[in-house]
């Protein structure tokens, strides 16, 4: 039986099989070429309406989704929390039901509460794409990371991937984890003990609180942004001290394999988690991640829209 796609929602890579993840990546490879053509647009979602419902603010993810939707010829509406009736006390489900009543086909949603999209998807006919739910998951970010790794390294079997930084608060880390594990990579989580809980070991990853052993022989390092507001919450003494013990710089980069990829979901804090010269250096694929994000989101929108009845 030939493989096919039949999900109307994309909520978390945890739900998908390795074959389904590969299916999305293969589809994204074709959509990447659309953006390289003179006519950067296909009629795949002509006549479909997509609502970008960002209850939690976002710029880069929203712009990437918006552009992906436009390149698929969908009609789009953007909604932010402060302009929605959530402010007036309407429940989330009522707001979404009102959106759906306008004959919308897809809702791309970001929310600060983990599981919000999962809850919504079970109550609506239209498709739901999770654009980030709290610290839980951000599947299109995970897919663009996987796409970028696969494009550069070919395969995931036995690939050593280190995720470095604030794992505790990161939906990027959790999203990547499931995808990487399902595709056969060896994952190490590294960072200060306050931000990298040992509990992650139970799902089959290595947890490491020492930078050198966390980076040694890694094929890929995915850095997470260190948010200044975490400092005041006491997770680490200062960003300066964080940079000293866990920053990737010209010295610590030597622990990695010479051809290792340096990834970052952005926005970068230059010279905090990542040395400026490395961010712009030959190992960095940070801007390619952004380009691939567009392709991956086009693929996800296309596949999910094809299964909305």
């Amino acid at each position: 039986m030939e493989l096919s796609w039949n999900r109307k929602d994309l909520l978390c890579l945890y739900d998908l099989s390795a074959e389904e993840i590969t299916f999305i990546l293969d589809t994204a490879a074709e959509f990447k070429k659309v953006s390289e053509r003179r006519v950067k647009k296909v009629p795949a979602l002509r006549g479909k309406t997509v609502v970008n419902f960002f209850v939690e603010p976002s710029t880069r993810t929203r712009v990437s989704f918006e552009l992906a939707e436009q390149r698929l010829s969908a009609d789009i509406v953007n909604m932010a929390a402060d302009s929605s009736s959530l402010r007036k006390g309407e429940t989330l489900l009522d707001t979404v039901k009102n959106i759906e009543a306008l004959q919308v086909d897809l809702i791309v949603m970001r929310h600060s509460a983990p599981g919000a999209q999962d809850f919504i998807a079970r109550h609506v006919r239209c498709g739901v794409i999770n654009a980030g739910d709290g610290a839980h998951s951000h599947p299109t970010q995970a897919l663009l990371d996987l796409f970028t790794i696969r494009e550069k390294k070919g395969s995931f079997k036995g690939l050593k991937v280190t995720i470095l930084g604030d794992i505790l608060h990161s939906r990027v880390a959790r999203g990547d984890l499931w995808g990487l594990l399902k595709l056969g990579a060896e994952v190490t989580l590294c960072g200060p003990a306050t931000l990298v809980p040992r509990e992650f070991e139970s799902i089959g990853v290595r947890v490491c609180h020492d930078l050198r052993s966390g980076l040694e022989n890694a094929d890929v390092v995915n850095l997470l942004r260190i948010q200044h507001e975490r400092q005041t919450a006491g997770f680490f003494p200062s960003t300066g001290e964080y940079a000293k013990f866990f920053g990737l710089n010209m010295e610590t980069v030597k622990y990695l394999k010479p051809d290792a990829l340096i990834m970052h979901p952005g926005p970068i804090n230059r010279d905090v988690e990542l040395a400026s010269a490395l961010a712009d250096g030959p190992q960095s694929v940070i801007l390619e991640q952004v380009t691939n994000g567009l392709a991956v989101r086009m693929a996800v929108l296309f596949l999910v829209a094809g299964c909305v009845r």
């Binding site: 030939e2 096919s4 039949n6 589809t27 074709e30 070429k33 003179r38 296909v42 795949a44 094809g306």
Partner: protein, 189 residues
């Protein structure tokens, strides 16, 4: 399930392909002019067919067409009407479309909907000088006003059945037959 019904065997398929190549070679608007001369096969079975036509042309004429491959998934007009989505195949258009003389190649011409989508897809790569259509089998039941320029053979199979083309390269032998639509295939009618 009703048995498979043979429409053409290996010898007939071979001579049908040779016939298409002869018709192309005799079409002066296609064989001469500026711009690239290309055969663009539509996935899935148009791709091996385009290769076969190219081989015929190279054996018997001085024509040297470039090969392209086109998947029209992003241009279909039935998004949301199919039960599940197949994987998109790789589109390759390794020639400048501007002013090109393009022959679209597909195994079966049925309703014309696939070709409608293919025309949209092709013209997104540029402005070809001319587009023609070559098919191995014309089912003679168009729903859109689209006809083929070069036809291997025609058949008037019941539209409720599907016509399948197989090639030696990928399926073991050249043949054309009709069969019931698989029950899993969500054909809307």
């Amino acid at each position: 399930m009703t048995a498979i019904k043979e429409i053409a065997g290996a010898a007939e398929v071979r001579s049908a392909i040779a016939g298409i190549a002869r018709a192309i070679a005799a079409d002066q608007a296609v064989t001469s002019g500026d711009g690239e001369f290309a055969l663009v096969g539509l996935y899935k079975q148009g791709v091996p067919l385009a290769e076969r036509i190219k081989r015929e042309l190279e054996e018997h004429t001085s024509l040297r067409p470039v090969l392209g491959e086109l998947d029209i998934s992003m241009y279909r007009d039935d998004v949301g009407l199919r039960s599940a989505l197949p994987l998109i195949s790789e589109t390759r258009m390794p020639f400048p479309m501007e002013n090109a003389r393009v022959i679209l190649v597909d195994d079966v011409l049925s309703t014309g909907r696939t070709i409608r989508a293919a025309l949209d897809a092709l013209t997104d790569y540029g402005r070809p000088g001319l587009i023609r259509l070559a098919v191995l089998v014309d089912r003679c039941n168009p729903e859109y006003p689209i006809r083929a320029d070069y036809v291997g053979l025609t058949c008037s199979e019941d539209p409720a059945r599907k016509v399948v083309v197989e090639f030696a390269e990928t399926d073991g032998a050249d043949r054309i037959y009709s069969a019931e639509w698989r029950r899993t295939f969500d054909r809307r009618k």
